[in-house]
Protein backbone atom coordinates (compact mmCIF):
# COMPACT_ATOMS: atom_id res chain seq x y z
CA UNK A 1 0.00 0.00 0.00
CA UNK A 2 1.60 3.28 -1.02
CA UNK A 3 1.55 6.44 1.04
CA UNK A 4 -1.08 8.17 -1.08
CA UNK A 5 -3.54 5.28 -0.74
CA UNK A 6 -2.88 5.06 2.99
CA UNK A 7 -3.50 8.79 3.42
CA UNK A 8 -6.66 8.49 1.33
CA UNK A 9 -7.96 5.70 3.51
CA UNK A 10 -7.23 7.70 6.65
CA UNK A 11 -8.94 10.79 5.30
CA UNK A 12 -12.56 9.86 6.20
CA UNK A 13 -11.57 9.09 9.81
CA UNK A 14 -9.57 12.31 10.03
CA UNK A 15 -12.43 14.33 8.59
CA UNK A 16 -14.90 12.71 10.99
CA UNK A 17 -12.62 13.48 13.94
CA UNK A 18 -12.15 17.04 12.75
CA UNK A 19 -15.86 17.59 12.23
CA UNK A 20 -16.91 16.04 15.54
CA UNK A 21 -14.14 17.43 17.76
CA UNK A 22 -12.41 20.44 16.27
CA UNK A 23 -15.46 22.18 14.79
CA UNK A 24 -17.53 22.08 18.03
CA UNK A 25 -14.49 23.30 19.97
CA UNK A 26 -14.06 26.23 17.57
CA UNK A 27 -17.77 27.06 17.84
CA UNK A 28 -17.54 26.82 21.65
CA UNK A 29 -14.51 29.10 21.64
CA UNK A 30 -16.32 31.70 19.54
CA UNK A 31 -19.30 31.55 21.92
CA UNK A 32 -16.94 32.01 24.89
CA UNK A 33 -15.82 35.29 23.33
CA UNK A 34 -19.38 36.58 22.92
CA UNK A 35 -20.57 37.64 26.41
CA UNK A 36 -24.29 37.28 27.00
CA UNK A 37 -24.76 34.72 24.21
CA UNK A 38 -27.44 33.68 23.27
CA UNK A 39 -29.83 36.05 25.12
CA UNK A 40 -28.10 39.42 24.72
CA UNK A 41 -25.05 39.25 22.52
CA UNK A 42 -22.49 41.96 23.26
CA UNK A 43 -19.40 42.75 21.22
CA UNK A 44 -16.57 40.21 21.07
CA UNK A 45 -14.52 40.24 24.25
CA UNK A 46 -12.98 38.24 27.05
CA UNK A 47 -15.48 39.25 29.76
CA UNK A 48 -16.66 35.65 30.18
CA UNK A 49 -13.06 34.49 30.75
CA UNK A 50 -12.57 37.29 33.29
CA UNK A 51 -15.66 36.02 35.14
CA UNK A 52 -14.57 32.38 34.91
CA UNK A 53 -11.04 33.13 36.14
CA UNK A 54 -11.58 35.91 38.67
CA UNK A 55 -14.90 35.10 40.33
CA UNK A 56 -14.06 33.49 43.71
CA UNK A 57 -17.13 31.24 43.34
CA UNK A 58 -15.77 29.56 40.21
CA UNK A 59 -12.21 29.47 41.58
CA UNK A 60 -13.49 27.63 44.65
CA UNK A 61 -15.24 25.11 42.41
CA UNK A 62 -12.14 24.67 40.27
CA UNK A 63 -9.93 24.15 43.34
CA UNK A 64 -12.43 21.67 44.77
CA UNK A 65 -12.50 19.80 41.44
CA UNK A 66 -8.69 19.52 41.30
CA UNK A 67 -8.51 18.27 44.90
CA UNK A 68 -11.28 15.78 44.29
CA UNK A 69 -9.66 14.52 41.06
CA UNK A 70 -6.39 13.93 42.94
CA UNK A 71 -8.17 12.20 45.83
CA UNK A 72 -10.30 10.06 43.48
CA UNK A 73 -7.16 8.98 41.61
CA UNK A 74 -5.35 8.15 44.87
CA UNK A 75 -8.26 6.09 46.23
CA UNK A 76 -8.79 4.27 42.91
CA UNK A 77 -5.04 3.55 42.70
CA UNK A 78 -4.99 2.23 46.28
CA UNK A 79 -7.58 -0.40 45.37
CA UNK A 80 -6.45 -0.98 41.77
CA UNK A 81 -2.81 -1.81 42.51
CA UNK A 82 -3.29 -5.05 44.49
CA UNK A 83 -6.10 -6.21 42.18
CA UNK A 84 -3.96 -5.57 39.09
CA UNK A 85 -0.96 -7.28 40.71
CA UNK A 86 -3.01 -10.33 41.57
CA UNK A 87 -4.56 -10.53 38.10
CA UNK A 88 -1.18 -10.15 36.40
CA UNK A 89 0.55 -12.82 38.44
CA UNK A 90 -2.19 -15.37 39.03
CA UNK A 91 -2.45 -18.51 36.97
CA UNK A 92 -5.85 -19.37 38.47
CA UNK A 93 -8.45 -20.79 36.14
CA UNK A 94 -10.82 -18.17 37.52
CA UNK A 95 -8.68 -15.37 36.12
CA UNK A 96 -11.00 -14.74 33.18
CA UNK A 97 -14.00 -14.58 35.53
CA UNK A 98 -12.16 -12.11 37.75
CA UNK A 99 -11.28 -10.01 34.71
CA UNK A 100 -14.91 -10.08 33.62
CA UNK A 101 -15.95 -8.92 37.09
CA UNK A 102 -13.62 -5.93 36.69
CA UNK A 103 -14.86 -5.11 33.18
CA UNK A 104 -18.56 -5.67 33.94
CA UNK A 105 -19.16 -2.25 35.59
CA UNK A 106 -18.09 -0.62 32.31
CA UNK A 107 -21.21 -2.12 30.72
CA UNK A 108 -23.37 -0.12 33.13
CA UNK A 109 -23.71 3.64 32.80
CA UNK A 110 -22.28 5.97 35.45
CA UNK A 111 -25.75 7.20 36.37
CA UNK A 112 -27.01 3.68 37.03
CA UNK A 113 -23.98 2.89 39.18
CA UNK A 114 -24.50 6.14 41.10
CA UNK A 115 -28.05 5.04 41.89
CA UNK A 116 -26.59 1.87 43.41
CA UNK A 117 -24.43 4.05 45.64
CA UNK A 118 -27.51 6.07 46.60
CA UNK A 119 -29.17 2.89 47.86
CA UNK A 120 -26.04 2.09 49.87
CA UNK A 121 -25.28 5.52 51.27
CA UNK A 122 -28.71 7.11 51.88
CA UNK A 123 -29.83 8.10 55.35
CA UNK A 124 -31.94 4.91 55.42
CA UNK A 125 -29.53 3.04 53.14
CA UNK A 126 -27.63 -0.18 53.73
CA UNK A 127 -24.60 1.44 55.40
CA UNK A 128 -26.62 3.56 57.82
CA UNK A 129 -29.05 0.74 58.62
CA UNK A 130 -26.10 -1.44 59.57
CA UNK A 131 -24.49 1.38 61.55
CA UNK A 132 -27.71 1.98 63.51
CA UNK A 133 -28.05 -1.76 64.14
CA UNK A 134 -24.50 -1.81 65.46
CA UNK A 135 -25.24 0.94 67.94
CA UNK A 136 -24.58 4.24 66.18
CA UNK A 137 -26.60 7.02 67.82
CA UNK A 138 -27.58 8.70 64.55
CA UNK A 139 -27.15 7.98 60.84
CA UNK A 140 -24.04 9.27 59.07
CA UNK A 141 -24.50 12.05 56.52
CA UNK A 142 -22.97 10.37 53.48
CA UNK A 143 -25.24 11.18 50.57
CA UNK A 144 -24.84 14.60 48.94
CA UNK A 145 -21.36 15.04 50.43
CA UNK A 146 -17.81 14.86 49.04
CA UNK A 147 -17.42 11.43 50.63
CA UNK A 148 -20.13 9.92 48.42
CA UNK A 149 -18.62 11.54 45.30
CA UNK A 150 -15.15 10.28 46.23
CA UNK A 151 -16.37 6.69 46.63
CA UNK A 152 -18.61 6.74 43.58
CA UNK A 153 -16.07 8.35 41.23
CA UNK A 154 -13.20 6.12 42.48
CA UNK A 155 -15.38 3.09 41.70
CA UNK A 156 -16.06 4.47 38.22
CA UNK A 157 -12.33 4.88 37.54
CA UNK A 158 -11.25 1.60 39.15
CA UNK A 159 -11.69 -0.67 36.09
CA UNK A 160 -9.67 1.70 33.87
CA UNK A 161 -6.81 1.68 36.38
CA UNK A 162 -6.91 -2.07 36.97
CA UNK A 163 -6.89 -2.91 33.26
CA UNK A 164 -4.08 -0.46 32.47
CA UNK A 165 -1.92 -1.56 35.40
CA UNK A 166 -2.56 -5.24 34.81
CA UNK A 167 -1.38 -5.04 31.18
CA UNK A 168 1.75 -3.16 32.30
CA UNK A 169 2.51 -5.66 35.07
CA UNK A 170 2.05 -8.61 32.73
CA UNK A 171 4.81 -7.21 30.54
CA UNK A 172 7.27 -7.28 33.45
CA UNK A 173 9.01 -10.64 33.54
CA UNK A 174 8.35 -12.27 36.97
CA UNK A 175 11.90 -13.64 36.92
CA UNK A 176 13.16 -10.06 37.43
CA UNK A 177 11.25 -9.91 40.73
CA UNK A 178 12.46 -13.42 41.60
CA UNK A 179 16.05 -12.37 40.91
CA UNK A 180 15.62 -9.42 43.25
CA UNK A 181 14.35 -11.77 45.95
CA UNK A 182 17.19 -14.20 45.41
CA UNK A 183 19.63 -11.34 45.94
CA UNK A 184 18.19 -10.68 49.40
CA UNK A 185 15.60 -7.99 48.81
CA UNK A 186 12.42 -8.14 50.86
CA UNK A 187 9.10 -8.20 48.94
CA UNK A 188 8.58 -4.52 49.80
CA UNK A 189 12.08 -3.60 48.56
CA UNK A 190 11.50 -5.61 45.39
CA UNK A 191 8.23 -3.86 44.77
CA UNK A 192 9.60 -0.37 45.46
CA UNK A 193 13.00 -0.72 43.76
CA UNK A 194 12.25 -3.12 40.90
CA UNK A 195 8.57 -3.42 40.02
CA UNK A 196 7.52 0.20 40.58
CA UNK A 197 10.24 1.81 38.39
CA UNK A 198 9.58 -0.76 35.65
CA UNK A 199 5.87 -0.04 35.64
CA UNK A 200 6.29 3.75 36.02
CA UNK A 201 5.26 4.73 32.45
CA UNK A 202 2.09 2.61 32.64
CA UNK A 203 1.35 3.84 36.16
CA UNK A 204 1.60 7.45 35.02
CA UNK A 205 -0.69 6.76 32.05
CA UNK A 206 -3.25 5.10 34.34
CA UNK A 207 -3.13 7.98 36.84
CA UNK A 208 -3.46 10.56 34.06
CA UNK A 209 -6.48 8.72 32.69
CA UNK A 210 -8.13 8.60 36.11
CA UNK A 211 -7.31 12.27 36.82
CA UNK A 212 -8.79 13.41 33.49
CA UNK A 213 -11.94 11.32 34.00
CA UNK A 214 -12.38 12.70 37.51
CA UNK A 215 -11.81 16.33 36.44
CA UNK A 216 -14.56 15.98 33.84
CA UNK A 217 -16.97 13.87 35.90
CA UNK A 218 -20.61 14.89 35.60
CA UNK A 219 -23.15 12.17 36.48
CA UNK A 220 -21.47 11.05 39.70
CA UNK A 221 -21.07 14.54 41.25
CA UNK A 222 -24.61 15.49 40.26
CA UNK A 223 -26.25 12.36 41.66
CA UNK A 224 -24.06 11.72 44.71
CA UNK A 225 -22.87 15.27 45.46
CA UNK A 226 -26.34 16.74 45.10
CA UNK A 227 -27.02 20.41 44.65
CA UNK A 228 -24.66 21.52 47.43
CA UNK A 229 -21.40 19.82 46.45
CA UNK A 230 -20.55 21.31 43.08
CA UNK A 231 -17.70 20.32 40.76
CA UNK A 232 -16.78 21.88 37.41
CA UNK A 233 -18.82 19.59 35.13
CA UNK A 234 -22.14 20.29 36.87
CA UNK A 235 -21.22 23.99 37.25
CA UNK A 236 -20.73 24.30 33.46
CA UNK A 237 -24.04 22.52 32.82
CA UNK A 238 -25.73 24.87 35.34
CA UNK A 239 -24.46 27.95 33.44
CA UNK A 240 -25.63 26.65 30.08
CA UNK A 241 -28.81 24.75 30.89
CA UNK A 242 -30.21 26.61 33.90
CA UNK A 243 -28.82 30.15 33.57
CA UNK A 244 -28.83 30.19 29.74
CA UNK A 245 -25.40 31.85 29.82
CA UNK A 246 -23.58 29.89 27.14
CA UNK A 247 -20.67 32.28 27.03
CA UNK A 248 -19.62 31.86 30.67
CA UNK A 249 -20.34 28.14 30.38
CA UNK A 250 -18.09 27.89 27.32
CA UNK A 251 -15.34 29.92 29.02
CA UNK A 252 -15.53 27.63 32.06
CA UNK A 253 -15.30 24.61 29.75
CA UNK A 254 -12.08 25.96 28.21
CA UNK A 255 -10.66 26.79 31.64
CA UNK A 256 -11.38 23.19 32.66
CA UNK A 257 -9.77 21.79 29.49
CA UNK A 258 -6.62 23.89 29.90
CA UNK A 259 -6.27 23.24 33.65
CA UNK A 260 -6.81 19.50 33.14
CA UNK A 261 -4.22 19.31 30.36
CA UNK A 262 -1.69 21.45 32.22
CA UNK A 263 -2.03 19.54 35.47
CA UNK A 264 -1.90 16.16 33.70
CA UNK A 265 1.37 17.12 32.01
CA UNK A 266 2.77 18.68 35.19
CA UNK A 267 1.86 15.72 37.42
CA UNK A 268 3.24 13.24 34.91
CA UNK A 269 6.55 15.11 34.74
CA UNK A 270 6.87 15.60 38.50
CA UNK A 271 6.06 11.98 39.29
CA UNK A 272 8.29 10.70 36.47
CA UNK A 273 11.19 12.80 37.76
CA UNK A 274 10.76 11.63 41.35
CA UNK A 275 10.63 8.01 40.20
CA UNK A 276 13.81 8.44 38.15
CA UNK A 277 15.55 9.97 41.18
CA UNK A 278 14.44 7.15 43.46
Amino acid sequence: MNRVTATGLMLPALLLTFMSLAVPLVVLFVISLRPGYPITVDAFGAASYAEALLDPYYLRILGRTVLMALAITAVALFFAMPIAHFLARTSSRFKSILLLAIILPLFVGNAVRAIGWMVLLGERGVVNTLALELGSASPFALMYTWKAVLLGAAAVNLPYLVLTLQSVLEQINPSVEEASGSLGATPTQTWLLVTLPLMAPGLLAACSLSFILAMNAYATPVLLGGPRFRMMGPAIAEEIIVQSDWSVGAALAFVLIVVTMALSVLLTRVVARSLVKS
Binding site: M1, N2, T5, P38, I39, Y57, G122, E123, R124, Y144, V222, L223, G226, P227, R228, R230, E238, I240, I241, V242, Q243, S244, D245, W246
Partner: protein, 350 residues
Protein backbone atom coordinates in the same frame (compact mmCIF):
# COMPACT_ATOMS: atom_id res chain seq x y z
CA UNK B 1 -0.96 -5.20 -2.20
CA UNK B 2 -1.90 -2.06 -4.07
CA UNK B 3 -5.49 -1.22 -4.60
CA UNK B 4 -6.47 1.96 -6.31
CA UNK B 5 -10.03 3.09 -6.78
CA UNK B 6 -10.65 3.51 -10.49
CA UNK B 7 -12.75 6.19 -12.15
CA UNK B 8 -15.84 3.99 -12.52
CA UNK B 9 -15.74 2.92 -8.88
CA UNK B 10 -15.27 6.51 -7.76
CA UNK B 11 -18.27 7.65 -9.84
CA UNK B 12 -20.42 4.80 -8.51
CA UNK B 13 -19.54 5.73 -4.92
CA UNK B 14 -20.27 9.41 -5.57
CA UNK B 15 -23.62 8.50 -7.11
CA UNK B 16 -24.55 6.28 -4.18
CA UNK B 17 -23.61 9.01 -1.67
CA UNK B 18 -25.66 11.63 -3.51
CA UNK B 19 -28.67 9.31 -3.71
CA UNK B 20 -28.44 8.58 0.03
CA UNK B 21 -28.26 12.27 0.95
CA UNK B 22 -31.14 13.13 -1.42
CA UNK B 23 -33.29 10.35 0.01
CA UNK B 24 -32.57 11.47 3.55
CA UNK B 25 -33.45 15.08 2.73
CA UNK B 26 -36.72 14.11 1.07
CA UNK B 27 -38.08 12.08 4.01
CA UNK B 28 -39.18 15.02 6.25
CA UNK B 29 -40.73 16.75 3.22
CA UNK B 30 -42.79 13.68 2.32
CA UNK B 31 -43.90 13.21 5.91
CA UNK B 32 -44.72 16.85 6.59
CA UNK B 33 -48.49 16.49 6.76
CA UNK B 34 -48.63 13.54 9.13
CA UNK B 35 -45.50 13.52 11.25
CA UNK B 36 -44.97 15.77 14.21
CA UNK B 37 -42.04 16.12 16.62
CA UNK B 38 -42.96 16.79 20.24
CA UNK B 39 -40.29 17.91 22.72
CA UNK B 40 -41.55 16.89 26.15
CA UNK B 41 -40.53 15.51 29.53
CA UNK B 42 -39.82 11.80 29.91
CA UNK B 43 -41.05 9.33 32.51
CA UNK B 44 -44.64 9.11 33.67
CA UNK B 45 -45.41 12.54 32.21
CA UNK B 46 -44.55 11.29 28.71
CA UNK B 47 -46.43 8.03 29.24
CA UNK B 48 -49.56 9.87 30.28
CA UNK B 49 -49.36 12.41 27.43
CA UNK B 50 -49.15 9.44 25.07
CA UNK B 51 -51.99 7.55 26.75
CA UNK B 52 -54.40 10.46 27.26
CA UNK B 53 -53.60 12.73 24.31
CA UNK B 54 -51.57 11.23 21.48
CA UNK B 55 -53.01 7.73 21.20
CA UNK B 56 -56.72 8.51 21.60
CA UNK B 57 -56.85 11.93 19.92
CA UNK B 58 -54.07 12.27 17.33
CA UNK B 59 -53.31 8.77 16.08
CA UNK B 60 -56.91 8.35 14.78
CA UNK B 61 -56.37 11.53 12.73
CA UNK B 62 -53.37 9.92 11.06
CA UNK B 63 -50.87 12.09 12.94
CA UNK B 64 -47.72 10.30 13.98
CA UNK B 65 -46.08 11.96 16.98
CA UNK B 66 -42.35 11.46 17.43
CA UNK B 67 -41.29 12.22 21.01
CA UNK B 68 -37.97 13.70 22.07
CA UNK B 69 -37.78 13.48 25.84
CA UNK B 70 -35.62 15.87 27.88
CA UNK B 71 -35.94 18.45 30.64
CA UNK B 72 -36.73 22.14 30.09
CA UNK B 73 -33.12 23.27 29.74
CA UNK B 74 -31.93 21.19 26.78
CA UNK B 75 -35.14 21.98 24.85
CA UNK B 76 -34.75 25.69 25.50
CA UNK B 77 -31.13 25.55 24.37
CA UNK B 78 -32.05 23.70 21.19
CA UNK B 79 -34.71 26.29 20.37
CA UNK B 80 -32.18 29.08 20.90
CA UNK B 81 -29.52 27.31 18.84
CA UNK B 82 -31.96 26.73 15.98
CA UNK B 83 -33.36 30.26 16.10
CA UNK B 84 -32.02 31.23 12.68
CA UNK B 85 -32.83 27.94 10.94
CA UNK B 86 -35.91 27.99 8.69
CA UNK B 87 -36.94 24.59 10.03
CA UNK B 88 -36.29 23.52 13.59
CA UNK B 89 -36.39 20.18 15.35
CA UNK B 90 -39.71 20.62 17.14
CA UNK B 91 -43.27 21.13 15.99
CA UNK B 92 -44.57 21.37 19.56
CA UNK B 93 -42.64 22.00 22.77
CA UNK B 94 -43.79 21.28 26.30
CA UNK B 95 -42.28 23.68 28.86
CA UNK B 96 -42.74 25.15 32.29
CA UNK B 97 -44.73 28.41 32.28
CA UNK B 98 -41.84 30.79 33.06
CA UNK B 99 -39.72 29.17 30.34
CA UNK B 100 -42.60 29.61 27.87
CA UNK B 101 -42.78 33.31 28.76
CA UNK B 102 -39.04 33.65 28.15
CA UNK B 103 -39.25 31.80 24.83
CA UNK B 104 -42.08 34.10 23.74
CA UNK B 105 -40.10 37.19 24.76
CA UNK B 106 -37.17 35.91 22.73
CA UNK B 107 -39.38 35.43 19.69
CA UNK B 108 -38.88 31.66 19.59
CA UNK B 109 -42.51 30.52 19.86
CA UNK B 110 -45.62 31.62 17.98
CA UNK B 111 -48.49 33.76 19.15
CA UNK B 112 -51.32 31.29 18.66
CA UNK B 113 -54.33 31.82 16.45
CA UNK B 114 -56.67 30.99 19.29
CA UNK B 115 -59.71 30.93 16.99
CA UNK B 116 -58.31 27.65 15.65
CA UNK B 117 -58.26 26.05 19.13
CA UNK B 118 -61.61 24.87 20.41
CA UNK B 119 -62.23 25.61 24.07
CA UNK B 120 -59.28 28.02 24.38
CA UNK B 121 -61.51 30.75 25.87
CA UNK B 122 -62.55 28.39 28.68
CA UNK B 123 -59.01 28.08 30.08
CA UNK B 124 -58.58 29.27 33.70
CA UNK B 125 -57.75 32.99 33.35
CA UNK B 126 -54.84 32.90 35.83
CA UNK B 127 -52.87 30.66 33.46
CA UNK B 128 -54.19 31.75 30.05
CA UNK B 129 -51.57 33.21 27.66
CA UNK B 130 -51.65 33.95 23.92
CA UNK B 131 -48.70 31.65 23.22
CA UNK B 132 -49.57 28.39 24.93
CA UNK B 133 -52.20 25.75 25.62
CA UNK B 134 -51.79 24.60 29.24
CA UNK B 135 -50.75 20.97 29.55
CA UNK B 136 -51.28 20.70 33.29
CA UNK B 137 -51.92 22.86 36.29
CA UNK B 138 -51.27 22.23 39.94
CA UNK B 139 -51.46 24.21 43.15
CA UNK B 140 -48.42 24.53 45.39
CA UNK B 141 -49.17 22.98 48.75
CA UNK B 142 -47.41 22.31 52.03
CA UNK B 143 -46.83 18.61 52.71
CA UNK B 144 -46.18 17.08 56.08
CA UNK B 145 -45.63 13.56 57.35
CA UNK B 146 -48.53 12.69 59.66
CA UNK B 147 -46.44 10.19 61.66
CA UNK B 148 -44.04 12.86 62.91
CA UNK B 149 -45.81 16.22 62.87
CA UNK B 150 -48.12 16.85 65.82
CA UNK B 151 -49.12 20.42 64.95
CA UNK B 152 -49.95 20.55 61.19
CA UNK B 153 -48.67 23.67 59.44
CA UNK B 154 -51.34 26.02 58.09
CA UNK B 155 -49.18 28.61 56.36
CA UNK B 156 -45.77 28.97 54.76
CA UNK B 157 -44.72 30.86 57.91
CA UNK B 158 -45.39 27.69 59.95
CA UNK B 159 -42.47 25.98 58.18
CA UNK B 160 -40.24 28.11 60.39
CA UNK B 161 -41.86 26.79 63.60
CA UNK B 162 -39.53 25.27 66.27
CA UNK B 163 -41.18 21.84 65.85
CA UNK B 164 -39.99 21.64 62.23
CA UNK B 165 -36.46 22.94 62.88
CA UNK B 166 -34.01 20.89 60.77
CA UNK B 167 -36.88 18.84 59.34
CA UNK B 168 -37.90 20.96 56.35
CA UNK B 169 -36.87 19.84 52.88
CA UNK B 170 -36.54 21.88 49.68
CA UNK B 171 -35.75 20.91 46.10
CA UNK B 172 -32.93 22.47 44.09
CA UNK B 173 -34.87 22.65 40.83
CA UNK B 174 -37.83 24.29 42.64
CA UNK B 175 -35.73 27.08 44.14
CA UNK B 176 -38.25 29.68 42.96
CA UNK B 177 -40.96 27.80 44.86
CA UNK B 178 -38.86 28.09 48.03
CA UNK B 179 -38.13 31.77 47.45
CA UNK B 180 -41.80 32.52 46.81
CA UNK B 181 -42.76 30.74 50.04
CA UNK B 182 -40.14 32.70 51.99
CA UNK B 183 -41.30 35.94 50.39
CA UNK B 184 -44.98 35.28 51.15
CA UNK B 185 -44.09 34.42 54.75
CA UNK B 186 -42.06 37.61 55.15
CA UNK B 187 -44.14 40.40 53.66
CA UNK B 188 -43.09 39.94 50.05
CA UNK B 189 -45.17 38.74 47.14
CA UNK B 190 -45.17 37.17 43.71
CA UNK B 191 -43.47 40.27 42.27
CA UNK B 192 -40.93 40.62 45.06
CA UNK B 193 -38.97 37.59 46.23
CA UNK B 194 -36.28 39.61 48.04
CA UNK B 195 -37.82 39.20 51.54
CA UNK B 196 -37.71 35.45 50.87
CA UNK B 197 -33.90 35.45 50.87
CA UNK B 198 -33.73 36.48 54.53
CA UNK B 199 -36.27 33.83 55.53
CA UNK B 200 -34.47 31.10 53.60
CA UNK B 201 -31.19 31.99 55.30
CA UNK B 202 -32.98 31.44 58.63
CA UNK B 203 -34.08 28.04 57.34
CA UNK B 204 -30.49 27.30 56.27
CA UNK B 205 -29.23 28.16 59.75
CA UNK B 206 -31.85 25.78 61.18
CA UNK B 207 -30.50 22.94 59.02
CA UNK B 208 -32.72 22.79 55.95
CA UNK B 209 -32.14 19.87 53.58
CA UNK B 210 -32.02 20.44 49.84
CA UNK B 211 -32.70 17.57 47.46
CA UNK B 212 -31.76 17.30 43.79
CA UNK B 213 -35.11 15.94 42.58
CA UNK B 214 -38.79 15.49 43.41
CA UNK B 215 -38.18 11.77 43.86
CA UNK B 216 -35.37 12.25 46.39
CA UNK B 217 -37.59 14.72 48.30
CA UNK B 218 -40.52 12.28 48.25
CA UNK B 219 -38.36 9.46 49.54
CA UNK B 220 -36.98 11.64 52.35
CA UNK B 221 -40.51 12.67 53.34
CA UNK B 222 -41.70 9.07 53.32
CA UNK B 223 -38.84 7.84 55.53
CA UNK B 224 -39.03 10.69 58.05
CA UNK B 225 -35.66 12.17 57.04
CA UNK B 226 -37.68 15.37 56.62
CA UNK B 227 -41.11 16.06 58.02
CA UNK B 228 -42.42 18.85 55.81
CA UNK B 229 -41.86 20.79 52.61
CA UNK B 230 -43.48 22.49 49.64
CA UNK B 231 -44.68 20.49 46.65
CA UNK B 232 -47.16 20.43 43.82
CA UNK B 233 -50.61 19.16 44.72
CA UNK B 234 -50.49 16.64 41.83
CA UNK B 235 -47.32 14.98 43.17
CA UNK B 236 -48.68 15.04 46.71
CA UNK B 237 -51.82 13.24 45.53
CA UNK B 238 -49.71 10.59 43.75
CA UNK B 239 -47.55 9.98 46.84
CA UNK B 240 -50.53 9.92 49.17
CA UNK B 241 -52.34 7.47 46.87
CA UNK B 242 -49.17 5.37 46.96
CA UNK B 243 -49.50 4.96 50.72
CA UNK B 244 -47.02 7.58 51.96
CA UNK B 245 -48.34 8.92 55.32
CA UNK B 246 -48.68 12.56 54.28
CA UNK B 247 -51.30 15.27 54.28
CA UNK B 248 -51.40 18.40 52.18
CA UNK B 249 -52.30 21.91 53.23
CA UNK B 250 -53.23 24.96 51.13
CA UNK B 251 -51.11 27.80 52.58
CA UNK B 252 -53.10 30.61 54.14
CA UNK B 253 -50.90 33.23 52.43
CA UNK B 254 -52.38 32.21 49.07
CA UNK B 255 -52.34 29.37 46.57
CA UNK B 256 -49.78 29.66 43.77
CA UNK B 257 -50.73 27.91 40.57
CA UNK B 258 -47.90 26.28 38.70
CA UNK B 259 -48.54 25.23 35.15
CA UNK B 260 -46.90 23.72 32.09
CA UNK B 261 -47.94 24.29 28.52
CA UNK B 262 -47.54 23.33 24.89
CA UNK B 263 -46.32 25.90 22.36
CA UNK B 264 -45.46 25.97 18.66
CA UNK B 265 -41.92 27.07 17.73
CA UNK B 266 -41.78 29.73 15.01
CA UNK B 267 -39.72 27.43 12.81
CA UNK B 268 -41.91 24.34 13.27
CA UNK B 269 -42.06 22.16 10.16
CA UNK B 270 -45.63 20.97 10.57
CA UNK B 271 -47.82 23.82 11.84
CA UNK B 272 -51.06 22.22 10.67
CA UNK B 273 -50.24 19.14 12.71
CA UNK B 274 -49.20 21.37 15.61
CA UNK B 275 -52.63 23.06 15.64
CA UNK B 276 -54.29 19.63 15.62
CA UNK B 277 -52.10 18.83 18.64
CA UNK B 278 -53.15 22.08 20.37
CA UNK B 279 -56.82 21.23 19.87
CA UNK B 280 -56.28 17.81 21.41
CA UNK B 281 -54.32 19.41 24.28
CA UNK B 282 -57.19 21.79 25.05
CA UNK B 283 -59.78 19.00 25.06
CA UNK B 284 -61.79 17.95 28.10
CA UNK B 285 -60.89 14.34 27.36
CA UNK B 286 -57.15 14.94 27.80
CA UNK B 287 -57.39 17.10 30.95
CA UNK B 288 -59.88 14.82 32.69
CA UNK B 289 -57.67 11.81 31.94
CA UNK B 290 -54.57 13.66 33.20
CA UNK B 291 -56.44 14.58 36.40
CA UNK B 292 -57.43 10.95 36.92
CA UNK B 293 -53.98 9.42 36.42
CA UNK B 294 -51.58 12.23 37.38
CA UNK B 295 -53.58 14.27 39.91
CA UNK B 296 -53.37 17.51 37.93
CA UNK B 297 -56.15 20.08 38.27
CA UNK B 298 -58.11 20.40 34.98
CA UNK B 299 -57.61 23.79 33.30
CA UNK B 300 -61.23 24.32 32.24
CA UNK B 301 -64.51 23.99 34.21
CA UNK B 302 -65.87 21.55 31.63
CA UNK B 303 -62.79 19.28 31.95
CA UNK B 304 -63.22 19.31 35.74
CA UNK B 305 -66.89 18.40 35.31
CA UNK B 306 -65.86 15.50 33.05
CA UNK B 307 -63.92 13.82 35.88
CA UNK B 308 -65.53 11.42 38.33
CA UNK B 309 -66.77 12.74 41.65
CA UNK B 310 -63.98 10.96 43.51
CA UNK B 311 -61.27 12.46 41.26
CA UNK B 312 -62.88 15.89 41.49
CA UNK B 313 -62.72 15.75 45.28
CA UNK B 314 -58.98 15.05 45.06
CA UNK B 315 -57.85 17.49 42.37
CA UNK B 316 -60.16 20.51 42.59
CA UNK B 317 -58.88 23.48 44.56
CA UNK B 318 -61.34 23.93 47.46
CA UNK B 319 -63.78 26.78 47.08
CA UNK B 320 -62.44 28.66 50.13
CA UNK B 321 -59.04 28.94 48.45
CA UNK B 322 -60.30 29.60 44.91
CA UNK B 323 -60.54 33.31 45.68
CA UNK B 324 -56.94 33.40 46.91
CA UNK B 325 -55.10 32.16 43.82
CA UNK B 326 -51.75 33.80 43.15
CA UNK B 327 -50.51 34.33 39.60
CA UNK B 328 -46.86 33.80 38.73
CA UNK B 329 -45.34 37.11 37.64
CA UNK B 330 -43.46 35.90 34.57
CA UNK B 331 -42.09 39.37 33.76
CA UNK B 332 -40.59 39.64 37.26
CA UNK B 333 -39.18 36.14 37.06
CA UNK B 334 -37.73 36.79 33.59
CA UNK B 335 -36.00 39.93 34.81
CA UNK B 336 -34.74 38.46 38.08
CA UNK B 337 -34.19 34.81 37.25
CA UNK B 338 -30.41 34.93 36.99
CA UNK B 339 -29.84 37.02 40.12
CA UNK B 340 -32.22 34.82 42.12
CA UNK B 341 -30.52 31.65 40.86
CA UNK B 342 -27.09 33.16 41.59
CA UNK B 343 -28.19 33.96 45.11
CA UNK B 344 -29.55 30.43 45.55
CA UNK B 345 -26.42 28.73 44.24
CA UNK B 346 -23.78 31.00 45.73
CA UNK B 347 -25.25 32.20 49.05
CA UNK B 348 -27.92 29.74 50.06
CA UNK B 349 -26.39 26.50 48.81
CA UNK B 350 -22.74 27.21 49.55
Amino acid sequence: MKHRINRRQALAMLGASTATVALGASVPAMAQTSRLVLGTYGGDSQRNVEAALINPLLVPQGIEVVIEAATDGPREIKLQAEKNLPRGTYDVVHQQSTVLYRLFQQGLIEELDTSRIEGFDQIESVISTPYSVPQSMSARVILYNTEFVSEPPRSYADLWSPELEGKVGLIDQHFLMALAAGALANGGGMSDFEPGKEKLMELKAAGVRVYPSNEAFGQALATGEIWAGIMLQSRAIQWKSGGVPIELVYPSEGVVLDWWGFAIPKNARNKEGAYAFMNAAASDHYHSQWATTMGGTPVTPSALAATSEEVRARVAIPQEYAGNLLRLDSAYLQENYNQLRDWWVRDFMS
